[in-house]
Amino acid sequence: MRLIARFRPSRSLLPMCLVLVVCSAAAQVQESALKAAFIYNFAIFTSWPDHAAAGPFIVCVDAGTPLAESLRQLEGKRVDDRRWKVKETADDPRKTGRCSIAVIQSTATQQTNGPVATTLVVSDGGVSGKNGAVITLVNEGDRVKFDIDLMQAERTGVKFSAKLLQLARNVI
């Protein structure tokens, strides 16, 4: 972490040196693995209302998808003091109760009865501001980026750290 401490995380410098490190490992990174790591970081840099911040940290996701598999590989990790737990569901993940995060696909129909309280809805693709998600993962070229919809976030009651907001591509 020294590089980051020494240099201000200027947008131009930082990706360069980090790309080098990752490059030197010649790693082949699968999209779902990277997106799962993104979602884990969303959890780290978001705070939930007190009444929703107890018990295991449940991540709900469509069953059988590569993303579900990658999220499951994170089991054993912790978010604050809460255990990361993946709940795969055949129904709409947003309708599964007690999810801290619900991951939907870009093709999911827009929720008609508003956002689910205290659930951070993350959409894999789609258009932020239109898909009803709080955070939207976007593929741009061979990079993954994310957009944050603050209005949806407010209705959900979650709060983001300044760092998360700073790293987002769009904050609307």
Binding site: A26, Q28, A37, G141
Partner: protein, 650 residues
Amino acid sequence: MADAGALPDEPNSADLAALPFEALLAVPVVTSASRFAQSIADAPSAVVVLTAADIRDFGWRTLGDALASLPGTYVSYDRNYAYLGARGFLRPGDYDSRFLLLIDGYPTNDAVYGQAAIGTEMAIDMDLVERIEYVPGPGSAVYGSSAFFGVVNVITKNGSAVEGAQTSVALGSFGEKKARATYGWHGQNGADVLLSATSFVRNGQSLYFPEFHMPGESDGVARGLDYDRSQQFLAKGSFGGLTITAVHSNRTKGVPNASFGAVFGMPDSTTDTQSFVNASYEQPLSKDVNLAAQAYWGRWDYRGEGFYPLGDNPSALNVDGAHALWYGIGTHATIKSLTAQTIVIGAEFQRNARRDQYNYWLDPYVSALDDHHSSNRSAVYVEDEIQLPANFVLNAGLRHDRDSITGGNLNPRLALIYKATPRDSIKLIYGTAYRAPNAYEMYYAIPGDQGQEANPRLHSEHITTREVVFEHRLGATGRATMSLYQYTLRNVISQLTDPDTGALVFANVDHAAAKGAEWAIDNEFGHGWRLRASYSWQLAKDRATGATLDNSPRHLAKLNLVTPLFWQAARLGTELQCTSARKAGDSVAGGYCLANLTLSSSRLAPRTDVALSLYNAFNKRYSDPAGPAFVAPTVYQQSRTVYAKMTYGF
């Protein structure tokens, strides 16, 4: 940073989650070629999407290179323009006017020839293309005229895809050089800017044409006439729901093969200058209603200069040209308030302010044609996608176009989609389309017995198609498709000789029919392997004579394979395309197989992409049918070329 350095070859999510968040933003992923697989399953067509990753991995330099990789398509080149054919239809000599080419929704087909520019004459650099959506089949029920065999929608990159300054330089065989400078910026409020300029030149080669070899007079070699030069500029800005794109391009191509009766070996060239400004706006009106609006202005100036025999003068300079200028507005609403229905209602208006053509001899100045026309067209359309019980989806579209010259056209389309299983869908599609005669066909007139007559009474040509598509999803993103189709064309505009005057004239005389089958597969095999392959069998015939159409191959086989090399440090893009023999008038263009190889890497040096391409790797000699403007029945195509490219991001 120790964590990152110790990343395994194929890190899982837990390895990645241990990295600082900033680092994740810079990690490249193995991109999926068919990310739109899900929505494609619902589309009322066998849609194919090509991405920037495909363009990079296969080293496609023109839109035609990309489109030639699609199932059932083929591209012909006459060493001046490139033409797209599909499902056995690509009549030599016609302009490329039976596909609608949209760039970010702007209709690029010009108001004089209706031409879709897919060769080096295209207005934008392929490096700036984010994706290409190809919708095969008639699209007039949504898009109106020109969407005859298909719609090609090119979506350009945003500034956020570039982020900062980027330069690209390339060198290739026969004096090919290209340089591009691009700047992209993206703000967190969604504001986005992309600026880009490209300069391209290709000296070309000396080409031997046996048909012009006359001992004592000419050795049949065209020297210094195969050059190709272009400049392309693009500026794009978005904020909120508004996106404004401005494009300007200019291309000059030498014509080495003395088409249209030019004097062989003399300077001959065509210059195409295109500009457009397109503004599009999207705004959700309510939770269930989305409004989109568009306004555009475009022009396309064409100028051809060449030497032709005139009376006693064996070679006089003639200038042939056109000014096309058009602007329009369009709006559509997408309504999802009814249960299980998505309705799109739209209206469009386009003014073709200039559809002007001219032709003159320079010295002494004699005007042979100075024609000025304009026209308007307006349209209303509606499309409804209805989710029916038992996994059926009905997609119905209807559009009415009114052209101030050629009158009204009503085009329906109906598709019934049955999702037999979550992985299998069957689509039954009935479609119609039309193409209004272009200004060239209606008004171009040159006096003389070798001349051409106008025919302002031309009306639209029509197509009706029936198609069944079986789609099976493979894994997370792949799919296998089989398609059976039957096309019927009526009143196709063709050139014939007026028996009274001996001059050429266009008339609605031809009727044709085609049937065919296509098999296609598109899949990823982990570790960065990606495969797209297709085979098409097609039979297109003239309904009056029963003869097979010119430039209509019976078989097309294609393979596009991406192979990771050196532990993912590089990629090899292998492209194979086989085309069976095609009739070319009384002659035949022989069948051939072509191989293109592109080796590329983003990891050789930081922030640098390098690529080395070998086009026509086995130096296959092959030809495309040429059309009536050429002395020879076929045009010899490009021999093996090498191309090296480097892109650096600051």
